[in-house]
């Protein structure tokens, strides 16, 4: 559906504070360097305080920033339950890369509501999608900092994006804070490498 107006429609979902904006910045900037028009929509303000966040990134698109229902080619979910919340944007058959490490909302932490089993989430997603699930938070810790999980996810997505992985890697290096460069380089490589087995 998105062939006419957008080359690649991506949903990035997660929890405020996980770095969804940095993830979409890396991808958006690389797309511009690679000669594409880009449109992106982000969650700022109120919704950032630990709330649910979703970014739309449209590569090769010259229209609005919001992806249609059933319009997205791909989703990266930085938190498992946040994949389900924005499922309506995905085209059936599209791919999902999902971080399996949950972040529990306060209602779950205090025992007022429950969080579904990760296996149940994956089973539902797998009915209509090609799902690639792994614990990106653990890989980020391995790279040196849990906060680099967003870059692990970008690394995992790299081979599916319509531009050169090397250019994407250069964008990672230019966007992340200099102090965190080594950790993020490693995080990107770990994310990229894990896809070899998928």
């Amino acid at each position: 559906m998105s062939d006419k107006v957008s080359k690649f429609d991506l949903i990035i979902s997660g929890v405020g504070g996980q770095g969804t904006i940095l993830a979409s910045d890396i991808i958006g900037k690389t797309a511009v360097i690679s000669g594409y028009h880009v449109r992106a929509a982000e969650t700022h303000g109120m919704a950032q305080r630990g709330g649910s966040v979703v970014n739309h990134v449209r590569i090769g698109c010259d229209y609005g920033s919001l992806i249609s229902i059933n319009g997205a080619d791909f989703m990266i979910a930085l938190e498992p339950s946040e994949s389900v919340r924005y499922l309506k944007y995905l085209a059936p058959g599209s791919k999902i890369i999902i971080n399996t490490e949950p972040v529990y909302p306060v209602s779950v932490l205090s025992g007022k509501s429950s969080y579904p089993a990760i296996s149940d989430i994956l089973n539902i997603l797998e009915k209509d999608h090609e799902v690639i699930a792994f614990n990106a938070t653990k890989l980020a810790v391995e790279a040196g900092n849990q906060q680099a999980m967003n870059v692990v996810m970008v690394g995992a997505l790299s081979r599916y994006l319509p531009f050169d992985e090397k250019v994407l890697f250069e964008s990672v290096k230019s966007i992340v804070p200099p102090k965190t460069l080594d950790v993020n380089k490693k995080a990107f490589m770990l994310g990229n490498k894990i896809m070899e087995s998928h």
Binding site: M1, K4, V5, V15, G16, S24, D25, G28, K29, A31, V32, Y36, H37, V38, R39, A40, A41, E42, T43, H44, G45, M46, A47, Q48, R49, G50, G51, Y63, G64, S65, L66, S68, I69, N70, G71, S81, E82, V84, R85, L87, K88, A91, P92, Y104, P105, V106, S107, V108, L109, S110, G111, S113, S114, Y115, P116, D120, I121, I124, D128, Q146
Partner: protein, 605 residues
């Protein structure tokens, strides 16, 4: 080829200000407008003046003064800010300006981060000032930079209406050259023009009315409006602002042949609308929020000797509330014109519902001092007391039972006074942030002390304007640019406003805070508690790192006293019936004071 950069819409607008030669830029933070001044203030080299003003009325007047002196100026705010600035707006329209002035107002359809979703185009009509309504961040940048010369041509300020998807959208932006012309500011004395006494206002008002036709004709032919008439089709689609990109995508998706008018300026391009109506038998109007274009199209259609079917908010094909998107446009086009939508929609609803995903509303951060303040407030005042509140991060305390009302900026103290004056006998304790107090709370406190309101006012002084992204305010001793300045003393300020009971507390010292609240509650008259503790995000950025806490599970008896604080860093292990602290702990120590069993201790180095 010109430079192309990936930019946030608000950064693109900031760039447009520089390209257009804006030299004085003022504003008050408000989502989704805040990053415009944020971008300008963080630039290392500047040949313009930029400030965070204390509220939108003040900001608009500062920009107006600069424009009176012949300088190109900008004021930025969110949509509700224009209500605060409406007083100077309406009369500035009579006075006009010398230097080009752009009033940037960011609307928030869908209430992503706002208390209402008013449509700024209504203010444009009300004030009779022209309004630019961009469809993309690129248009936003180009419109802002061109708005200055337009403003100067008609000697009137121009309203520029952004929306969340423009301001917080990102896009590749083609840059233009920066204006390097510098005009020496000079205020020309002209009593007839700058002094709006009745005699002068009566002259300026008809002039403002007369110039409307010229403004419309000039804007009509601008590149921001586009009419494509179809030779073969008798249907038409009119779309305005951001809705036009949704409409265009929907038309491509549905493969529909129609005449199309894209609108980007107001007063509306009447002639283009008439040309469209001449050609079509039925027309659909697609615009976010108010039926602003739609009403005008109906009026024009009534004057034509032709029966045209008009669709839009009436008959409810396009909603009058919330944001639009491509799907809404497709359904509306499909229903209005009987165009089949060949896409098969796949409904995930059953699958999603079967998982019952827990809600994830925004919450106060781990280590947020407001949580401790609210805890102490409720301990002292009880569940039965009345808690008017205000606009800021602390509004998220709605789950703590200490936010009973939120009306508008500064509305906490005044609503509290009103409830007291109504004769309500229960104790009343309101809460207001530092920046919000300085915005419009000062007047409320003065009114309360003057009129003898027996209420308690809590100033939640977290040393910043946190919710909108930590903008400096006069309580911090820092300007928008980071430069040092005077630091307003809240205690002195409150006392000079007539408050005789003013006490400052550290909210992380919960027992002392409870005691202070009890004294304030028992005080007969207007009492003020200042709960002073820097925002945890800000203090961490400044390098303050406390040791986190840990729960000894042997000592924890599972009473959940700490859980009831509602801190995201404290979890309850239902299986083993004990609380635990996760990696989000910032070491504020509030929970320690909840625990009767000494189970919570600081993690040693």
């Amino acid at each position: 080829m010109k430079d192309r950069e990936y930019m946030l819409g608000n950064a693109a607008i900031a760039r447009g200000i520089i390209e257009g030669g804006g030299k004085v830029i003022s504003g008050y933070p408000g989502t989704p407008s805040s990053e415009i001044i944020g971008t300008l203030a963080s630039m290392k080299e500047r040949d313009f003046y930029v400030e965070w003003s204390v509220n939108e009325k003040v900001a608009l007047e500062v920009a107006a003064g600069a424009a009176m002196a012949g300088t190109r100026s900008v004021v930025t705010m969110k949509h509700v800010g224009l209500n605060v600035a409406a007083d100077p707006l309406m009369t500035l329209a009579y006075m006009g300006v010398e230097g080009g002035m752009v009033i940037i107002v960011a609307d928030d359809p869908g209430c992503h981060s706002s208390q209402n979703e008013q449509d700024t185009r209504r203010y444009s009509e009300f004030s009779m000032l022209p309004c630019f309504d961009p469809a993309t961040p690129q248009e936003a940048k180009d419109m802002v930079s061109e708005a200055f010369s337009f403003s100067e041509k008609f000697q009137l300020p121009v309203i520029f209406r952004s929306t969340t998807r423009i301001s917080h959208g990102k896009s590749d932006i083609t840059l233009n050259d920066i204006d390097i012309n510098t005009k020496t500011p000079f205020f020309t004395k002209d009593v007839d023009r700058w002094v709006m006494i009745p005699k002068n206002a009566c002259v300026r008002h008809p002039q403002l009315i007369d110039v409307q036709e010229d403004i419309k004709n000039e804007l009509q032919n601008s590149r921001w409006n586009k009419l494509d008439l179809s030779e073969s089709s008798t249907i038409g689609i009119i779309a305005a602002g951001i809705a036009s990109v949704y409409a265009e995508e929907a038309m491509i998706d549905l493969d529909v042949e129609a005449s199309y008018l894209k609108i980007g300026t107001y007063p509306l391009p009447d002639d283009l609308i008439s040309k469209m109506l001449d050609k079509v038998d039925e027309v659909l109007i697609i615009e976010e929020l108010e039926p602003f274009v739609e009403d005008k199209v109906r009026a024009i259609s009534n004057d034509l000797n032709k029966d045209i079917k008009i669709y839009g908010k009436d008959p409810k094909l396009i909603p009058r509330d919330g944001e639009l998107n491509v799907n809404i446009c497709k359904i509306a086009i499909s229903n209005a014109f009987n165009v089949p939508d060949k896409n098969n929609y796949y409904d995930y609803a059953d699958k999603i519902n079967s998982l019952s995903i827990p809600e994830r509303p925004p919450v106060m951060c781990p280590g947020c001092s407001h949580r401790a303040t609210y805890y102490a407030m409720r301990k002292a005042f009880g569940a039965d007391a009345i808690y008017p509140s205000d606009i800021g991060c602390y509004t998220l305390g709605v789950q703590s039972g200490t936010v009973d009302t939120t009306l508008c900026m500064g509305g906490s103290i005044t609503v509290a006074s009103g409830i007291f004056n109504a004769g309500e006998k229960r104790p009343i304790c309101c809460s207001i942030g530092d920046s919000t107090f300085l915005h419009t709370g000062i007047n409320g406190l003065l009114n309360a002390t003057y009129n003898k309101s027996n209420i308690t006012i809590t100033i939640l002084d977290n040393r910043t304007t946190a919710m909108t992204g930590h903008q400096p305010n006069p309580g911090m001793g820092q300007l928008a640019t980071g430069e040092k300045t005077i630091e307003v003393c809240f205690e002195g300020l409150c006392k000079s406003l007539g408050a005789e009971f003013v006490e400052t507390v550290d909210p992380f010292d919960i027992p002392s805070t409870i005691e202070a609240f009890k004294k304030a509650r028992d005080y007969q008259g207007t009492s003020v508690i200042i709960a002073k503790q820097p925002c945890v995000i800000l203090s961490r950025r400044m390098g303050v790192k406390n040791l986190p806490f840990h729960i000894f599970i042997d000592k924890c008896n599972g009473c959940k006293a700490c859980i009831r604080l509602g801190c995201p860093a404290i979890e309850f292990d239902e299986k083993n019936k004990h609380a635990k602290i996760n990696s989000m702990c910032t070491g504020c120590g509030s929970c320690v004071q909840m625990c009767k069993f000494d189970a919570i201790v600081e993690v040693s180095k």
